[in-house]
């Protein structure tokens, strides 16, 4: 059975777009509406972050959103329920992104199976590397529950490690455009461009690129380089300054550019 994620990549569109939402930011209902609004505006996939007190890979924008959501009393359970409520309405795949401690505290089996039950297609846990204890367990439950575990890779990886990672990778390979935390920036590091080419040479999966995308020009430069652009912090900034309409406008604009070049 082809997963919903595979279906996204079989679309003709030259570059797909994955948006990012911090569940519970600025509040639970608004974040739920934002997911619907993003899907409506033409996002191909949405990454929903379950907030954590110490988000190690995130820059100031997403970190502040995490803290705000937690102040509002968001819990992983509320987050799962929020997704379950809109699952049938949203036709595109949703992924959960979170940190190892929340999954570990809930129990890996329970976290993975409940994620599957609420209808997400895959999981991203950046601080649970494949060679640490607990990963095998996680991987087992992913298989058991038919979920895809997304690997996040960055320039600087040794070739043997890259090959090992590609062997277990599924769905798509998420490459960070910079070695650093999330956050809107300009331009792309040459190192990252070279790394994309290197991964492409070995990978049999679609490639995604994220971290720092903040303009339509950056998205344009990714067309035919990767298959999926991930936009996180920039959309939160847009939301903060002009609400969900602002976010929708950016997605539509990006899609127009992609359509023109497709």
């Amino acid at each position: 059975m082809a997963s919903r994620i595979d279906e996204v990549f079989s679309k003709k569109k030259k570059l797909k777009i994955m948006t990012h939402v911090v569940a519970g930011y600025p509040d639970l209902e608004t974040s739920q509406n934002l997911i619907l609004a993003m899907a409506e505006a033409g996002a191909d996939m949405i990454e929903v972050q379950i907030p954590f007190s110490d988000p190690l890979a995130d820059g100031p924008t997403i970190m502040a959103a995490n803290h705000k959501a937690l102040q509002n009393g968001l819990t992983p359970k509320l987050c799962l329920k929020m997704i379950e409520e809109i699952r049938d309405e949203v036709k595109i795949p949703l992924l959960f992104m979170t940190y190892a401690n929340l999954a570990y505290t809930m129990g890996l089996e329970r976290f993975v199976s409940e994620s599957a039950a609420c209808g997400v297609s895959g999981l991203i846990i950046p601080d649970l590397p494949f060679d640490e204890r607990g990963y095998d367990d996680y991987y087992f439950w992913l298989k058991e529950c038919n979920l895809v575990g997304i690997q996040v890779l960055s320039a600087g990886l040794s070739l043997p490690r890259l090959k090992k990672l590609l062997k277990i990778a599924e769905g798509f390979i998420y490459i960070t455009l910079r070695v650093g935390v999330t956050g809107a920036r300009e331009g792309m590091e040459k190192k990252s461009a070279d790394f994309i080419d290197q991964v492409k040479a070995y990978a049999g999966l679609p490639l995604a690129a994220g971290f720092g995308i903040s303009s339509v020009e950056q998205i344009r430069s990714l067309i035919s380089r990767v298959d999926l652009a991930v936009i996180g912090s920039h959309l939160i900034n847009l939301f903060n300054s002009g609400g969900k309409e602002n976010v929708q406008e950016f997605i539509k604009e990006a899609n127009q550019v992609i359509e023109q070049l497709s």
């Binding site: 007190s53 110490d54 803290h67 401690n101 690997q151 960070t176 070695v179």
Partner: protein, 420 residues
């Protein structure tokens, strides 16, 4: 040769965990830097030249060996076993932190790094980092929670004077935990020329192991010194536990000496309420994976890290070093707590009894030592680690112990500084 190297790298992999704890739970982008660091560390650990250089710096720069002092008056007050104090407080920069900072700075230089980044709580690790950076001609950038900057200003001043750049951290609880996050994030973005000089035996591998090695000099000296004074091993060791670098440094060389009892003292703060203390091993301790390692943390039932409190900034941390977590489970170390009030009282006691001003962190160990001394006979020997000196705590201790005189002094200083 190849076989030997393979064996060594397998041993390195093995050492990533302490029982069930530790590991290297970090985003993939940090893995190459941590691999580079562990590769360099395990190489230089075997290098005689490196060890000789470190030994020389310990002796002539840090002021080691530090005294193991028989505290006769404190012993009398304890009404039990003989109490010896290991005076790490006499180290350069006033605390055991210099042991680790020297080792890591030397390593950073060998690795060709030009900048040191560090987190600090009480400011003692920041101060040690600033000092070694000055000594080795490296740049240093110290991340410090805004709350800690306010309560440890004397150290902030000295770090700046030594040339360090202080970066206030305003995220989360604005204390040590958030300073670690901020320092790690800065490191991720500057891997090429920067070494992250983590100050406690926490974080992802190889830090817990490397910091423990550099701090073990404390326990090794105690072992040699007590042999000279008493011609035997001590019966009891007591140390305060934040992340755990001074305690593991004292305990580690004694782990195999099963008759030596080990006590770790956590910060009981203002009491048992949420956010009132820094007890990881109180009632219903919780395990988690935070800041790159698996251990005991102060978490809610969903896994969110909870705020902490201690009168001493150095114990005010939500995580416990992974090796200590394992030793706790094995029953090798007994953990208990001391409150803010008890620590302050012990601070005063040690000043009056021995003329020694302990850091408020170390005062926790003193308070606990006095609590349990009676359980042991006069012939038994206890060693308490005075991990740092209390000069840095002037602003906290003076307010608590001599409010009137201190306030008068502060007012006069302010008036003097700003004539009408």
């Amino acid at each position: 040769m190849k076989q030997k190297r393979k064996q060594r790298s397998e041993a390195v992999e093995e050492s990533r965990y302490f029982g069930d704890y530790g590991g290297r739970y970090v985003p993939e982008m940090l893995v190459p830097a941590l691999e580079e660091l562990s590769g360099a560390y395990f190489h230089y650990r075997e290098s005689q030249e490196f060890q000789k250089e470190l030994e020389n710096l310990r002796k002539n720069y840090a002021g080691r060996p530090t005294p193991l002092y028989f505290a006769e008056n404190l012993t009398r007050l304890g009404r039990g076993c003989k109490i010896y104090l290991k005076l790490e407080s006499l180290c350069q920069t006033g605390a055991h932190k210099i042991n680790n900072a020297l080792g890591q700075a030397l390593l950073a230089r060998k690795m060709g790094k030009s900048c040191l980044v560090a987190e600090t709580g009480a400011g003692q690790h920041g101060l040690a980092t600033a000092a070694v950076a000055a000594r080795f001609g490296l740049r240093s950038r110290i991340f410090m929670g805004e709350v800690d900057i306010k309560r440890q200003y004397p150290n902030v001043f000295f770090m700046k004077t030594m040339g360090a750049e202080i970066v206030p951290v305003r995220d989360g609880t604005k204390t040590l935990k958030d300073a670690v996050n901020a320092a790690l994030k800065y490191w991720i973005e500057h891997l090429k020329d920067t070494h992250y000089l983590l100050g406690s035996a926490v974080g992802p591998f190889p830090y817990p192991l490397m910091v423990r090695d550099f701090q073990s000099v404390i326990g090794q000296e105690v072992k040699a010194q007590i042999k000279i004074y008493e011609n035997r091993l001590p019966d009891v060791l007591v140390a305060c536990v934040g992340g755990g670098s001074n305690s593991i440094g004292l305990f580690y060389p004694f782990l195999k000496d099963k008759n030596v009892r080990l006590y770790g003292v956590e910060a009981g703060g203002r009491g048992p309420g949420r956010g009132e203390n820094a007890r990881r091993l109180g009632k219903n301790p919780r395990k988690g994976i935070v800041q790159g390692y698996k251990s005991y943390f102060i978490l809610d039932h969903e896994g969110q890290v909870q705020p902490t409190h201690s009168i001493s900034a150095g114990l005010d941390y939500a995580g416990l070093g992974p090796e200590l977590a394992d030793l706790h489970d094995a029953g090798r170390i007994c953990f208990d707590q001391v409150t803010d009030t008890e620590a302050l009282s012990a601070f005063k006691t040690l000043c009056q009894a021995e003329g020694i001003i302990p850091a408020l962190e170390s005062a926790h160990a003193v308070a606990y030592a006095l609590k349990i001394a009676r359980k042991f006979s006069r012939r038994q020997i206890m060693v308490v680690n005075i991990s740092g000196r209390g000069d840095k705590d002037l602003f906290i201790a003076a307010k608590e112990l001599d409010n009137e005189g201190w306030m008068r002094f502060l007012k006069e200083e302010v008036n003097h500084g700003q004539p009408d």
